[in-house]
């Protein structure tokens, strides 16, 4: 029993396709077997809206007259990487502005998407073909040639929840963690999360079309720190951070409602990225995977108050989303960091776009790796 992407797209075209969000299908699975879901449902839409530091954007400014081969470049006072051709730069989302650590590349990216003017300052040594040595002007989405998001690591498949057993309040990318296990923070949209609905990435690979910040983007590669060696639970779901995606998309078409620059206190600048991925229900196995519910998705509780962030417990997203969990016989409040309400909006929006034919389901050009593990950075002396 199998369906193909072509058959599903044909059903979408003739209006007979059944498209549900990941939450809707999880609810349906309470009364329907994977076989029934395979027969009844064609596409499941997922969504997530969380902080993804490993994001950035390429911009090409166009040439001035006389031209400049830009070497040092700042956008709204944020240094950007100019070690590329004359007027190409890469804005790193977490790069901080000079003199304002709460403002960074993420804010520049958000401004560009909003259509705001951004101050450009660049300098160079000057060459025979690029004689100009300095330039100051403003750029925006209409006067640059290209501006596209290129995020090396997005849409983490699961992530450990964070607690702090130390006696001090600590400030992390997982939010403010109160001393003596005052809170547990978590950052995954649970049963709505893209890669948790297709844990082995059977339908997601290079070339898969995705919802990226309101535009249609693509999976360009496996994301950095892509790890398939993580322990799985009985439902086949990794119990901590494992697979990731590198995503690309046209910023000129993005909607500022689905991207937001952030600053985590005493940590730094980051960016919230809205990602939605449709999962075609090609066989019963995939139907089984999209049926997972928050209680089926486990994650570890990592202690950020101890070096190495060791695992001290395990929990699941039903418990985490309930508002509190029990740890060492103590009831501890939980707080989310990724917006479930936005994730839900993304999954709904993607459902509408597929239904009205503006978002066509794609088959990956190539699968992502299935046998990876991570290296640590060794400190090697030069003796």
């Amino acid at each position: 029993m199998k369906k193909t992407v072509e058959e599903i797209n044909e059903k979408i075209r003739n209006g007979s396709a059944v498209i549900l969000t990941a939450e809707e299908v999880s609810q349906m699975s309470e009364k329907n077997s994977p076989e029934e879901i395979f027969k009844k449902v064609d596409v499941v839409t997922t969504g997530t809206f969380g902080a993804m530091c490993s994001s950035g954007a390429f911009v090409n400014f166009g040439h001035a007259d006389p031209p400049i081969r830009m070497e040092k470049v700042k956008l709204n006072n944020v240094p950007v990487s100019a070690g590329l051709a004359a007027v190409d730069v890469f804005i790193g989302a977490s790069e901080e502005a000079e003199n304002n650590y709460k403002y960074g590349g993420a804010h520049v990216i958000e401004s560009l998407i909003k259509g705001e003017d951004v101050k450009l300052e660049a300098s160079a040594k000057g060459t025979d073909c690029y004689p100009r040595k300095e330039i100051r002007t403003t750029i925006n989405k209409n006067n640059v040639n290209e501006m596209y998001l290129y995020n090396p690591r997005n849409a983490y498949q699961n992530y450990p929840s964070a607690v702090n057993t130390s006696d001090k309040l600590i400030y992390t990318y997982m939010g403010n963690l109160l001393p003596q296990m005052g809170n547990v923070n978590y950052s995954t949209s649970g049963e709505l999360s893209p890669l948790l609905n297709d844990p082995e990435l059977r339908t997601i690979g290079i070339g898969t079309k995705v919802f990226l910040c309101g535009a249609q983007g693509f999976v360009s590669w496996h994301g950095t720190q892509f790890d398939t060696s993580v322990e799985k639970n009985s439902k086949g779901i990794p119990i901590k951070n494992s697979r990731t995606l590198a995503l690309i998309g046209d910023m000129k078409k993005m909607d500022p409602k689905f991207i937001k620059a952030a600053y985590f206190h005493k940590y730094g600048v980051s960016i919230f990225i809205g990602v939605g991925i449709p999962i075609p229900i090609l066989d019963v196995d995939i139907a089984k995977f999209v049926s997972i519910k928050n209680r089926d998705i486990e994650t570890i509780v990592a202690d950020y108050g101890t070096d190495g962030h060791p695992e001290i417990a395990r929990t699941n997203y039903q418990e985490l989303q309930s508002g509190s969990i029990m740890l060492n016989n103590k009831k501890i409040r939980t707080a989310p960091l990724s917006s479930i309400s936005k994730a839900r909006i993304i999954a709904e929006k993607l459902k509408e776009q597929i239904r009205d034919g503006s978002f066509v389901i794609t088959k990956p050009v190539q699968n992502l790796p299935n046998n990876t593990s991570l290296n640590n950075l060794e400190i090697r002396g030069d003796e």
Partner: protein, 133 residues
Amino acid sequence: MKIRFILTFSTETTNLPIINNLIKEHDISVNIIKADISSGEKGTAFIEMNGKESELNLALEFLKKNKVEYQSVDKYIHLNEDECIHCGACTAVCFAGALEMKGNKLQFETEKCIVCELCVDACPFGLFEIHFG
């Protein structure tokens, strides 16, 4: 009238039954919202006093006489709701229970807020502001 104060007790005053006497000797009601007072240490208490203005003034005189510093809290926390994405990061630090997730949406019950200000740093978008007056 109702006013909120942060009281600071010196190491010498933490052993004395000051709040007890404050209530006994004045026609006011006192609601202790948050307190951290241990013998031999500097202590703080966040209280709300309710009563006639004349009685409240006498109560403040009494605190002064007993070497308790007080600072009126006429500030409040304002949330820029239009920009809120309902991530929930602020709920992690709100002990007063003023900020809670209800159906994955942030709910801010201002009357529960004790103006501890922890949410100001916890919001990744800087959407909480301290307002005065």
